[in-house]
Symmetry: C2
Subunit: 366 residues, 2 copies
Amino acid sequence: MTSKIVDVHTHVYPPSYISLLRSREKLPYIRIFPDAPNASRLIILPGEDDPSKPSTSRGRPIGPEYWDIKEKIYFMDKHKIDISVISLANPWLDFISPEAAAETAEKTNDEIEELCEKYPGRLYAFAALPLSASSPDIIVKEIARLKSLKHVRGVILGTSGLGKGLDDEALVPVFEALCENQLPIFLHPHYGLPSEAYGPKAGESGHVLPLALGFPMETTIAVTRMIVSGIFDQFKDLKVLLAHSGGTLPFLAGRIESCIQHDGHLKKAGKLEGRRSIWEILRSNIYLDGVVYSEVGIRAAIGASGGTRVMFGTDHPFFPPLVGDEKEWLSVRTNYDAISNAFGEAKEEAEAVLGRNAIQALNLED
Amino acid sequence: MTSKIVDVHTHVYPPSYISLLRSREKLPYIRIFPDAPNASRLIILPGEDDPSKPSTSRGRPIGPEYWDIKEKIYFMDKHKIDISVISLANPWLDFISPEAAAETAEKTNDEIEELCEKYPGRLYAFAALPLSASSPDIIVKEIARLKSLKHVRGVILGTSGLGKGLDDEALVPVFEALCENQLPIFLHPHYGLPSEAYGPKAGESGHVLPLALGFPMETTIAVTRMIVSGIFDQFKDLKVLLAHSGGTLPFLAGRIESCIQHDGHLKKAGKLEGRRSIWEILRSNIYLDGVVYSEVGIRAAIGASGGTRVMFGTDHPFFPPLVGDEKEWLSVRTNYDAISNAFGEAKEEAEAVLGRNAIQALNLED
């Protein structure tokens, strides 16, 4: 018997959220442009809706794979995925008005829970938090409520936190509540880097620079800020699953550690005493998904966090087939191949990454 | 007989350049602050000279290891380095006025050549280019002149190019001249990322975020822009040695390739046809230094570019000992250990990374 395959990085925009995006007139939103009246485009990154851009550069085409859970199950079956841990896609509830935050979070999480209930044993979820609420108490209250949703196994979080990032002291009660309720964070990028980082010709390469480089660097900056600010020392039980195999954390961990050790300011501030090294944090607080599209990347992820802390993912419904009728998504095949090439004959270890690690870490039913 | 150890990433600020930095009153410069009158500080990154910052956060202390070539040789002997390929440290000549560019480049490169001549067989160099000159012809002229400098084996370049990055078409004659003269580029970061990328608490972590994350991402953005813009297809013989093991390129290569393949805009613009994959470019145009401070990083570098294209480096005189009288620099030991742990019993392959690859690729005398 082969062990199960679990996808820990797979998104949904449930129908109510899609309606919300359609009703909006600014980022994030779904828009139909007059010069391309037959295509709804999902606009989630700044500048993607610039009408002077060619229509193919404006956001991305959006269809039922974004909101119809049957499409998720169809995708899972086609790619031999037994279990998906679904999560609201970016930008989650970050943009919701403070007044509507609590209610929208409840509604969205309940809706996602209902989707999971429809397919017993196939779907679990990372819930969304009302981060824009007027007080952290509201966030903590929603975290406590998540216990009543049987398929929730953690929360998905962007890097913005309450607006100042994840090294913000105002988040202490949130981290406390997550630890208490044993809910890991799935940390996912959305904001990228300031666009001037990409140079004047960035537009000519479509979405490549923000997606391929901005997203992973955003995640790396966020988690490095958490590490340097001591959050993982304050909350030793805090578990964080990093999207896209940690952004660039596995590769840069050595450099980050070296820069911390050599920093005159941190030394003088007494912040180097008693700290755990980045390698210890990688092996006790961090999990990494396997969405890295290369054997080199998977090996680095495993080298950094260990073979029991890396978990297969697809990023569905993003990176769809290059041609409409392809049976298999190239993006998924690339991630499957990366794992099987990295492990070669070590089938058990590959199976751990493909499913067992997620089943154990997220307490899924086998 | 053990093979030689070559350091391809080791900087000098020759005496005339130090005088220049001391004479300046803005970035980049060397400054003595009134509240710390006994210490010269080297200020090379924006904001490092903010007098409201604690004195330990202002630039870095600078001593003879930055300008005295005897200190370089002493450092080499102490760390068993046979040959160093020295290069002017950032920000090179990027900030020189257009009028002074040509003369400063000649003078600096001549001075560096003289340093190499003093220690036969021990020193080679990457030359600096007058990129701020009023016309690319002046740059091309200096490239041609480099033939007369016997120890020059390439040029060091920042990511700014003529001000618009390395995907700027105005650089075509420069790349042409470099290929013609078989001079590889040593591509090195300096500008980092816009500071708002690091969040409001960035200052509390000293230089960690810009140095550990901004630098590698800058390099990755620069080389990705070169790849996407087709420069390596236009100049198939262009060789680029990337600082800090490619920034994050080995880890992100799979994601970059996937994003390129899936980009609707690049597809529509016909830019996906006939292109070489990022993996082909990594194995025919790119070299990587070994300045990555971890076994995970070295393995990824070798996985991406191959074992004959990775070359040991130290980044001297940066990342000096944590305590003044340490015999060995921790930063150097970390990079040595990374290589020896990555290769284990495969001594020949380790020796290639430690020296043989550089001797062959840069045509050094063995």
